[in-house]
């Protein structure tokens, strides 16, 4: 992994992202705005499953309202995320927070797909709570990448 990070770091794309000062801050801004859309769209879907939001509307209507926004914002979030990784591969791959975040992200997506297909199943309510917790975890870990040693101490893959 470290070798791959070193190779990526040396590529022309990575060098450009590193040397053009405004790219990383701007891409981070877009990344955070997209997280706002993804997180709150997921929250709306989860709260509807729990009957805490738009209970007067059928689930399908709520899903149709928020799922498309969620998926599109997720796509932009993924693209901007890749740009940030290419720009600083060592920082991302070297952080325990990054890997845990990726795992939580994949689980959150699987949970979302499951909720969309079976919103009335017995597992739907715990899954909805889980989805909210997972996204909070993803957001926390995203910020924690900058503080890997402080947060994970001996479990940090840095140092």
């Amino acid at each position: 992994m470290a070798e791959f990070a070193a190779w990526l770091h040396a590529t022309a794309v990575s060098q450009t992202i590193q040397s053009v000062g405004w790219i990383v801050p701007l891409v981070q801004c877009i990344h955070i705005l997209m997280i706002g859309i993804v997180f709150v769209s997921s929250l709306m879907i989860a709260l509807r499953v729990l009957g805490r939001m738009r209970a007067d509307e059928p689930f399908e209507l709520v899903w149709l309202r928020f799922a498309p926004w969620m998926w599109r914002a997720l796509l932009v979030m993924a693209i901007t995320g890749v740009v940030l990784i290419v720009g600083e591969p060592g920082r991302e791959f070297g952080a325990t927070s990054f890997w845990v975040k990726m795992v939580l992200l994949v689980v959150a997506l699987l949970v979302t797909l499951r909720l969309g297909r079976a919103p009335a199943s017995a597992a739907a309510r715990p899954l909805a709570v889980g989805l909210i917790v997972l996204w909070i975890g993803v957001i926390f870990l995203g910020r924690a990448i900058a503080y890997d040693v402080e947060v994970w101490q001996s479990l940090s893959s840095h140092t």
Partner: protein, 179 residues
């Protein structure tokens, strides 16, 4: 000068000292601040888009705003608390940071925009609550709100990239340089 003294007192406070020296405090507080900010933006966006007729006007505006703005205010409160803690850790640097100053201005503008909307435009909501396009003033308020909150978040991220290496900060005039 009094303002600078106050800012310095905030930085010198026990809370500021704790935020600076605790290994866990800053990551947790910053992450919570990001969480709160994304929640404010996401919830406000839904209400603002509804004012612009996106995706449609079938659900009553007051209903959408009532159910979402509760979440917005909770998240905003959390953002203010965590933001204040971050400010206390390094107040002297933040107050001279251009991005930080502009962010506070943008927050103020977003507040004024909201106050005008709530105080004036919303009075006639009965006529456009459901099924019809909101009046121009309401659409304008929605559009501005989106632009201002995007600006707030962008400026917030900009602070992180501009708060270091500031050589223009005035030095203490009493420093002794000759020995």
């Amino acid at each position: 000068m009094e303002f600078a003294g106050l800012v310095n007192d905030i930085q010198a406070s026990a809370i500021g000292e704790w935020m600076r020296s605790s290994l866990k405090a800053m990551p947790v507080v910053e992450a919570t601040h990001v969480l709160a900010a994304t929640m404010v933006f996401g919830t406000v966006l839904i209400v603002d888009l509804r004012l612009l007729g996106i995706p449609n006007a079938t659900r009553a505006f007051t209903r959408i705003s009532d159910e979402l703005l509760r979440l917005t205010w909770w998240a905003f409160g959390l953002a203010v608390v965590t933001g204040s803690l971050m400010f206390a850790a390094n107040a002297n640097t933040y107050v001279i940071n251009t991005a930080f100053r502009l962010k506070m201005l943008a927050l103020l503008a977003a507040g004024i925009n909201m106050a005008i909307f709530q105080g004036a435009t919303l009075r006639g909501v009965g006529g456009w609550d459901v099924g019809v396009a909101p009046p121009r003033a309401a659409r304008l308020a929605g559009l501005l709100s989106i632009l201002l909150w995007v600006t707030v978040i962008m400026l917030a991220r900009w602070i992180g990239f501009t708060k270091g290496y500031n050589f223009v900060v005035p030095d203490d005039p009493n420093i002794k340089f000759d020995f």
